[in-house]
């Protein structure tokens, strides 16, 4: 069952045959067995969301339209929120470990970046520690009311609704551990909340790029295929293997020269390019819909007992 040298070479050949520009690593369970080639997973849409197959179809359509849009819109040819004039607005890569909590990780990562953009607090600035690492555990174990959440997954819309209605405490108030567990933030939670004021879905490539160029990262979701686990760098495109399910990440940039989105995964820093990956425009449903955090009703700052009562917006930044 272990991946043989021949199988590894086959994946390389598949990458080359498709003119894909990514590097598969040599790992031992990528080609699990012949049956994987036959399997096809079912998927039905959540509330107000597209199915995975609908995402792929729509993404492919977007992909065709990208070149036309690129010539007509004024956004930059590349954006990377890890390096905006030497400043990073992307927080550390996390690890969801064995729980299907990717929606919480993709949502929190996007909230963290959006708050830093609005407040003008890069991660690598002298005051970078003023904004907290937010709690994926709070969002997932308190916001996801479905039974067995680690196996049942979630949706971006309900996660953002919880971030708006309740808010999210710092990681220190409810540290993340994988596994179904009660909603148990710390006793001071009500005074430590970061709450978004609103969110919206974006369905056009031009608007996704415009938002990324001016406002910060976006939440997105896509289909994970068997070859994705082997990604070690370059621009991923699906070349072999069946679909394993939907996965949520934070999109932190794009590059028209590479024709790809830059995303932050939640599988630790040992996977991909230090936990990040490039994925081709139109691939695996990545750009069918993305979700934006509009603004915040309050942003908890480290060292303060109460969240700021002043509305925060890009037009009204708060100097820490």
């Amino acid at each position: 069952m272990a991946m043989t040298a021949d199988e590894h070479e086959s994946l390389w050949e598949a990458v080359r045959a498709r003119n894909a520009n990514w590097r598969p690593g040599h790992n031992s369970i990528t080609a699990l067995d012949p049956g994987e080639q036959r399997r096809r997973l079912g998927y039905t849409p959540g509330p107000d969301e597209l199915s995975l197959l609908q995402r792929e179809t729509l993404s492919a359509t977007h992909h065709v339209a990208v070149d036309v849009v690129a010539e007509a819109t004024p956004y930059p040819v590349s954006v990377d929120w890890r390096d905006k004039d030497g400043k990073s607005y992307v927080t550390n890569v996390k690890d969801q470990q064995s729980c299907g909590s990717c929606v919480a990780f993709g949502t929190v990562a996007t909230m963290e970046s959006r708050a830093r953009v609005l407040r003008g607090v890069p991660v690598n600035a002298s005051n970078g520690g003023a904004l907290p690492d937010l709690s994926e555990a709070h969002l997932f174990y308190c916001g996801n009311s479905a039974g067995n959440p680690c196996m049942n997954g979630w949706w971006a819309g309900p996660a953002l609704d919880f971030a708006k209605s309740t808010g999210v405490v710092p990681e220190t108030c409810f540290p993340y551990t994988p596994g179904n567990q009660p909603c148990a933030p710390c006793t001071g939670a009500p005074g430590m909340l970061t709450k978004i004021s609103d969110w919206h879905a974006i369905t056009t490539i031009a608007e996704m790029k415009r938002w990324l160029a001016t406002n910060g990262p976006l939440i997105t979701a896509f289909n994970v295929y068997l070859d994705f686990y082997s990604y070690t760098g370059g621009v991923y495109m699906h070349v072999s293997g069946a679909r394993d399910g939907g996965h949520c990440v934070s999109c932190v940039g794009y590059d028209d020269a590479r024709r790809a989105w830059l995303c932050k995964n939640s599988w630790g820093t040992g996977w991909g390019e230090g936990g990040f990956f490039w994925i081709g425009y139109g691939q695996c449903g990545i750009d069918a819909t993305m979700w934006a955090v509009d603004d915040f009703a309050s942003i908890y700052t480290v060292g303060r007992r109460r969240p700021s009562s002043q509305p925060v917006s890009s037009a009204n930044p708060i100097i820490l």
Binding site: S98, G100, G245
Partner: protein
Amino acid sequence: MRLTEQDNGAEITVRKAEEIIIALPENPTTGYRWSVEASGDALALDSADYAPATTAVGAGGKRTMRFIAQRPGTSTIHAQLRRSWEDPKAAINAYTVTIAVTGIDHGNDR
């Protein structure tokens, strides 16, 4: 013969040509997937299909591995739940079952 996670560590006897199906919970989009090996040549792996339990983003399901008892002998199936890019020692779960295959052909028994 159908086995589940409750059969971890079991020793089972089957007849030649019999099918052994092992169904284990898995959530592949976390990166953790079952890596399976079988010692000896008494068993042949036919398939290892995955099916999700629900349809939401990040949802898990079951990995169903199907073996065929192809010749008499004893084979031990070792499975590890781990990420392919991490050290095998970082596996978060393990499953073992020992299968003894007798020479009686299951197909001729019907």
